[in-house]
Symmetry: C2
Subunit: 202 residues, 2 copies
């Protein structure tokens, strides 16, 4: 019997994805569940729903609430938080690099560092220099990694992963999948792990 697996679909610009990226590893480890990191882009998923911006920008009351909710949750999880001066930030390069990180085994720590930059340090993760900085701090060769991230095959892989998100019925991030079972939102992280434990072993 193999270890149960949860697919973790997240977007670097997404505020609630930030919470799950920071939290998932120790929780999954404690639950004995393996995490498959699935960075993708919410933009095309939202466009398919008719939104050309974050719903938190399109619907101001939802946005106001979200930032306050985030502040409360950050306090609960003891995560440093500074509201980003730009939202949502461009996450294209970060997502492409993360896909390389999936291949090479450093996606988790890279993803946490990008989220920390976006939601605790108010740095623009859309800038190449910020991503390069993060990669260097991880002990990686930033130029070489970014070159691999920008290769056609990797760009295509991210596009495919994003299309797959829509095909799977995802409509927001973070989302978690265990087999065909979908869980949406940081609020469902624990439920997804519990489901993987009880239903997900192959």
């Amino acid at each position: 019997m193999s270890r149960p697996v949860v697919e973790f679909w997240y977007e670097f610009a997404s505020s609630y994805s930030w919470l799950s990226v920071m939290r998932i590893e120790p929780l999954a480890q404690a639950a004995g569940v393996e995490v498959e990191w699935k960075p993708f882009l919410l933009g095309p998923v939202f466009l398919a729903l008719g939104w050309n911006d974050s719903p938190f920008n399109i619907y101001p009351p939802k946005g106001r609430y979200m930032w306050r909710d985030l502040e409360r949750l950050a306090a609960r999880y003891e995560l440093p938080f500074r509201k980003p001066s730009g939202f949502p930030r461009s996450s294209l390069l970060a997502a492409r690099v993360a896909l390389v990180g999936v291949e090479e085994g450093w996606v988790a720590s890279f993803s946490r560092a990008v989220m920390q930059a976006n939601f605790a340090e108010d740095r623009d993760i859309g800038e190449r220099a910020v991503i390069a900085d993060i990669l260097s701090a991880q002990g990686l060769d930033a130029d070489a990694v970014i070159e691999r991230a920008q290769a056609d095959a990797n760009k295509l892989a991210l596009r495919r992963q994003t299309e797959r998100a829509t095909e799977l019925g995802l409509f927001g991030a973070p989302s978690f999948r265990v087999g065909d079972e979908l869980f949406w939102g940081n609020d469902r992280l624990d439920d997804a792990l519990a489901w993987a434990r009880s239903h997900g072993a192959g």
Copy 2:
């Protein structure tokens, strides 16, 4: 020092409101928190956001997910559930009657019975006969209550309560308020009660 209070804003057609209506009383009691029942209509609130239907109907992937999520949550809370054959059902009469129930002290049990009819028995709560049936089963004089519910002053009171929801920044249901602190969704019921305990005593 008075007892802490949570305002409970809910809509009879709303699936997640169903869960909170069924759950809130024992949880609030255990927390030592008083519940102010605030029935309102989501329709006008949604219209102000540009939606002329439930977002679960406008955005099919959200709707598919919601019904599955609801099924899982109903199992967790051990609530009988049958997917309503119409969604969202007209909740105008039920909300008007509930306002009378707030005045007369029977809003909690009436609200649970309406939710049970809508989400466990697939009865059309938009029909006067169904509401009358529920009132009678509560030992109330159905015709007299419905007449009070349909009086101009009560109709106006519901309209005002719904306008107030928009003014307060509500954008969905259930919502909970403790002072100026807003919590959205059945997922935040426990947080709202905990907040009321620690911040809400007058």
